[in-house]
């Protein structure tokens, strides 16, 4: 039995080598070479130019992650408290938007948020603008929603919220109900039960939810272009430009991708260190 085990691992090893290790190696090689594949550090020394894009990307991803957490945790908690029938339906409803193409979803938001989009049409139909203009003597015909950072964050929250809800929900739903009863028995009211038992025990779910939202949010592209109107460029868009856009330079693109990857890995490492104790406890 023991001898056969390495044999089973072969497909995975090949897969990992082909599709995980090789691309990373290629990214590293590209990052440290010129177009003629001569070794260089130039791709990194010029990185400072893009500092504002780096900070914006991480800032917006962080905000989106926080918003996802604030919306996602209560939803997960309430879902876990309901009956199994409700849980099934809720899970499907949460997954449903993900079956629609990512770009399509984002285009949909465009037509909702546009200056003469659905939302503004709705506001004008209910006479909101007339009311405001009458009250303050202003002359606004629409709210500017598209081409703002808010729209970018909204797009990310909408797209990544399921990745926050599902891991948190699956941890909470598995929590032993007798722990809640034990805490009540020891004098804890429902707020204390949540604060001292459920919240700390659901941290592993929160951690993986945060990871699953933050990482794709940092490197997201298209959302900022479509909803941010190109004025709020993010790392994903920058990298995309280096490979597909007019600024064609895969070597610089690789360097940016590498730096981003390192920062993300450091972020995750710090966070997992922070959550290690709880993680272990739940393994019990």
């Amino acid at each position: 039995m023991k001898n056969r085990r390495p044999l089973f691992a072969v497909p995975y090893v090949v897969w990992m080598a082909l599709f995980v290790v090789a691309p990373i190696v290629m990214v590293v090689i590209y990052a440290f070479t010129t177009a003629a594949f001569d070794p260089t550090m130039n791709n990194f020394t010029g990185m400072g130019t893009y500092l504002s894009i780096f900070t914006r990307s991480f800032e917006l991803a962080l905000i989106a992650t926080l918003v996802c957490l604030l919306i996602g945790y209560p939803i997960s908690y309430m879902m876990a408290k309901e009956g199994p029938g409700f849980q099934r339906i809720a899970t499907v409803l949460i997954m449903l938007p993900m079956w629609v193409n990512f770009l399509l979803r984002t285009y949909a938001w465009m037509s909702i948020l546009e200056n003469n989009g659905l939302l503004n049409q709705f506001f004008s139909a209910i006479g909101l603008f007339d009311l405001i203009n009458g009250l303050f003597g202003t002359d606004i015909q629409y709210f500017r929603m598209i081409r703002t950072q808010g729209a970018v964050v909204l797009g990310m929250v909408y797209n990544y919220l399921p990745f926050m809800i599902l891991p948190i929900y699956s941890v909470i739903v598995k929590l032993d109900h007798s722990l809640t009863e034990a805490a009540q028995d020891l004098g804890a009211n429902s707020v204390t039960v949540f604060r001292k038992v459920i919240l700390p025990l659901s941290l592993p779910g929160v951690l993986s939810g945060v990871t699953m939202v933050f990482v794709p949010a940092v490197s997201t592209f298209a959302i900022s272009r479509l909803l941010g109107g190109g004025t709020h460029m993010m790392l994903g868009d920058l990298i995309e430009q280096q490979f597909l856009g007019g600024a064609y330079n895969p070597h610089l693109g690789s360097a940016i991708a590498l730096v981003m990857m390192i920062i993300v890995v450091i972020c995750m490492w710090v966070m997992n260190r922070f959550g290690e104790g709880e993680e272990q406890a739940v393994m019990l």
Partner: protein
């Protein structure tokens, strides 16, 4: 004698229309070790959860010191529970698990400047520390404060659960099959440990188990339950020696139960033969259930026996042999230290104090025949019973009213 702490008055509990607890009347005294004993589904855990406040009875009242407690949530009750699978907090170490209840401030009504105010009362850190360490010593876990819960064995986790409950100085400790997950050896150790802790702390233990040996070994009072009803309340000796019906006789220890007729006081007839017994107060010629404990039967040479039978099977049990003997088609279990081979015809002698007489009940004829010995235990849990006539004799001394 001892003070009454908790009283259940006409408590009934139904889940989805199914009656789990049927008009229960029971009281619990100060500093006694009371066991609720019965097969699974008999309502014993339901009773415990009603006292703990996790469920509210469908009808009836729960009184603590005479005050109605039905709608008081668990966190405001002066009882603590040791849960079936401990329910220790995996994210906290041993010390913090035990300190959990102490760290939660309690709101108390206090008069401040003549006005009634709700004040949060917190126990000072140093006192918490002292009480936790003291309690860990009581449960023999000194030095384990910083261990994680998953580093502990089952028996140690058990003790943490007990310490966590007791450190709050409850008036009553509820224990829901706390030893069920432990192996036999550890279970025996913990039994005496629990008894010791109960005596040391001097508080009431309400203990739920389906293990009759456990109940006999630890309890001051045993409440035998079945079908959501109390079948008998008494000391372990009472329950064993004077079972009130066939269910109790069969559930507590092994019993041969057969039909008999009470001719007059102290005379009972079965197998067409009259025997002397110590029971009285039955109607003349009343049909009764006769209980004979397998260890009370003396095997003698067939010529000297009051009854004669043939050995049909012998099982070695360590201390004794389980010998199944066929008496005119009715199989008895006899426990003796002497070996009698299969096929041997033996005689038995029954002394008056070996025979115990019970009134007929809904359980008559269901238990006490060893024709299908090995299957008996499995069957017991899922017998379904028909409606039965109310038993007049269930109003007795002791706990029931």
């Amino acid at each position: 004698m001892s003070k009454e702490l908790i009283r259940l008055v006409n408590c009934s509990m139904a889940f989805d229309g199914e009656l789990v607890l049927d008009n229960m009347n029971l009281y619990f005294n100060d500093s006694e070790f009371l066991t609720l004993l019965g097969p699974s589904g008999c309502g014993k855990t339901t009773t415990l959860r009603i006292i703990g406040g996790f469920i509210t009875p469908t009808s009836g009242e729960v009184l603590f010191d005479g005050v109605r407690m039905n709608d008081i949530p668990p966190h405001l009750r002066q009882v603590n529970t040791v849960f079936q699978r401990y329910a220790l907090f995996p994210h906290l170490n041993v010390f913090e698990n035990v300190a959990f209840g102490l760290r939660i401030g309690r709101t108390e009504e206090k008069e401040v400047n003549g006005k009634k105010k709700k004040v949060k009362v917190r126990i000072p850190q140093e006192e918490i520390r002292q009480r936790v360490l003291e309690m860990l010593e009581v449960v023999s876990l000194k030095g384990f404060e910083n261990r994680r819960i998953n580093e502990l064995s089952g028996g140690q986790q058990q003790r943490v659960a007990i310490a966590r409950a007791l450190v709050n100085r409850p008036k009553v400790l509820l224990l829901d099959e706390p030893l069920g997950a432990l192996d036999l050896r550890l279970r025996k150790d913990m039994q005496s440990e629990l008894k010791r802790i109960q005596q040391q702390m001097g508080i009431t233990f309400i203990y739920v188990t389906h293990d009759q040996e456990e109940a006999l070994a630890m309890s001051d009072t045993i409440v035998v339950m079945d079908q959501g009803r109390i079948q008998q309340i008494g000391t372990p000796e009472d329950i064993y020696n004077e079972p009130k019906n066939a269910f109790v006789a069969d559930f507590i220890g092994e019993s041969n139960i057969l039909d008999g007729i009470m001719h007059e006081d102290y005379v009972v007839e079965f197998f067409n033969r009259k025997f002397k017994c110590l029971d009285k107060g039955f109607a003349p010629m009343e049909p009764v259930d006769v209980v004979i404990r397998p260890e009370d039967i003396d095997i003698v040479p067939k010529e000297q026996g009051q009854l004669r039978g043939t050995v049909t099977s012998v099982t070695f049990k360590g201390v004794h042999y389980d010998t199944i003997v066929d008496f005119k088609g009715f199989k008895w279990l006899i426990q003796t230290t002497d070996y009698h081979p299969v096929g041997e015809t033996i005689g038995i002698i029954l002394n008056p104090d070996d025979i115990h007489i019970m009134h007929k009940s809904q359980y008559s004829g269901m238990f006490g025949d060893y024709s299908s010995y090995s299957e008996e235990y499995e069957e017991m849990d899922d017998v379904t019973m028909l409606d039965e006539e109310e038993e007049g004799s269930s109003r007795e001394d002791g706990h029931e009213e």
